[in-house]
Subunit: 189 residues, 2 copies
DNA sequence: GCATCATAGTCAAGAAAATGACTAGTCATA
DNA sequence: TATGACTAGTCATTTTCTTGACTATGATGC
C-alpha cells in the first residue's frame, strides 16, 4: 500500500491523467518510486473509489479523451497519516549487482558490457535530471530556492536521484575497468 | 525469477543454511537484493528441487539441526546464462522519498525526524560495511586486492552499498536541515 | 501509401513478495 | 524462575508486480 502514496505525492503538483502520470513515473517520480502504466491506472481507479483523488473528463479533438485527476482533502489527510507513520527501510534490487557479485566465478565479458551500458544510461539520466532541476529552480540559485521556493518536494527527490545516478555511473565505470584489467592479467599467465 | 539468482550468487562463497542466508540478506547481500527469510527458505526448496543447489543435513547438539546448501554445476550454469541476458534497469522504492516529495504540502515535523533516524541507520551501515570491506581485503590495499584478489565479487557490491549509504546519509542530513530552516522561516512571518 | 509512433487507455493471468502466525529447543539475564 | 533473545525453520493467505495482449485515433516519416 505504498504505491498509492507515491501516486498521491506525484499528483500534488496539479492535475494529471493516467497517461501523464505514467510518463512522470518514468522520469522525476522514478527517483522515488517505479511502476508500470497498468498499475497506475488500477491504483487511480482504487483511489477514486475511495475518494482520495477525483477525476474529471476532458474531451479532446484529434486526440483520445482523457481523465485528469487531483488529490482531494481526504487524499491529503491520507498522505499526512502516511508521513507520520514509520517508514520502511529502503532497499536496492538490481540484477546487475547480482551479476557483479558472481562476476569472478562466471564469464565477465557480458557483465563488463552491461556495466558500460548502464553507465551510459545513468549519464543520460543525469543530464535529464540536471535540466529538470534547472527548470524547477528557475533563476534562483539552489540555496535561495530551497529557502524560499514554493514547492521544493520534487526538487529534493530529484537531488537524491541525481546523486544516486552519479554514484551509480562512477561505480559502473570503475568496476568495468577493474574487471577488464583482471581479464588482461589472467590472459597474461 | 531474480531472487533465485541472488541466492545462487550469495551461495558462491561457500555453504550456508537458510538461516545464515537470511542473515546475509540483512547485511552484505542487502547491497544488491532484499528478501525475507520465508522467501529464502521457499526459494532454496525450489532450487534444490531443480538441482541448482544441493543441501546436506548437519546434526547439531544444543542447537537445532540445519541444512547447508551449496551451488551445483547446474546452478553455476544457470548463473552464467543469467549473466549473459540483458539486465533489467534498477530502481529505487523508498517510503521516505515519497514523504519528502510531499513534504511541503504536509506536516514536515515527522518527516524531519525520520530523515534524521535514517541518517543514523545509514551511518551504522557505513561502519559495518567499512569493517566488512576491511575483512575481505585483509592486509592488501584496495588497488592491489582488486587486481589480484581471489574473490572480489562481494567486495565490489559492498563498495556500491557503501557509496549508496554515504550518499543517502548526506542527503538525509541536508534535507532535514533544509526543512528545519524552512520551518523557522515560516514561523517568522 | 504504408508503417510506425504518440496519445489514452483496458483486461486477464501468472509470478513474486509481503504479512502474520506457529513450532521447539537453548542460552543469558534480571 | 520466568522473560526475552537466538538458532532453525514451516505454513497459509493476501497483496503487489509483471507480462502480454488488445482497442482506437491522429500525426509523422519514408
Amino acid at each position: 500500500m505504498a504505491l498509492r502514496h507515491a501516486v498521491l505525492a506525484a499528483l500534488l503538483d496539479g492535475e494529471y491523467s493516467g497517461y501523464q502520470l505514467a510518463k512522470a513515473f518514468d522520469v522525476g517520480v522514478a527517483n522515488f518510486w517505479h511502476a508500470l502504466p497498468q498499475q497506475l491506472y488500477a491504483e487511480l481507479a482504487r483511489l477514486e473509489k475511495e475518494g482520495l483523488v477525483a477525476g474529471r473528463q476532458v474531451v479532446q479533438e484529434s486526440r483520445p479523451n482523457k481523465r485528469l485527476f487531483h488529490v482531494t482533502d481526504a487524499g491529503r489527510a491520507e498522505l499526512e497519516k502516511f508521513a507520520e507513520a514509520a517508514a520502511k527501510p529502503s532497499f536496492i534490487r538490481d540484477d546487475l549487482l547480482v551479476k557483479v557479485q558472481a562476476a569472478d566465478r562466471i564469464g565477465t565479458g557480458p557483465v563488463i558490457g552491461q556495466l558500460e551500458e548502464r553507465a551510459l544510461a545513468a549519464e543520460a539520466k543525469i543530464e535529464l535530471l540536471g535540466k529538470l532541476l534547472g527548470q524547477l529552480r528557475g533563476d534562483a540559485d539552489e540555496e535561495e530556492y530551497l529557502r524560499r521556493g514554493e514547492r521544493i518536494g520534487p526538487y529534493l527527490t530529484c537531488l537524491r536521484g541525481l546523486s544516486f545516478e552519479q554514484e551509480h555511473r562512477d561505480w559502473c565505470l570503475r568496476i568495468a575497468a577493474v574487471l577488464r584489467e583482471r581479464q588482461v592479467t589472467r590472459a597474461d599467465h
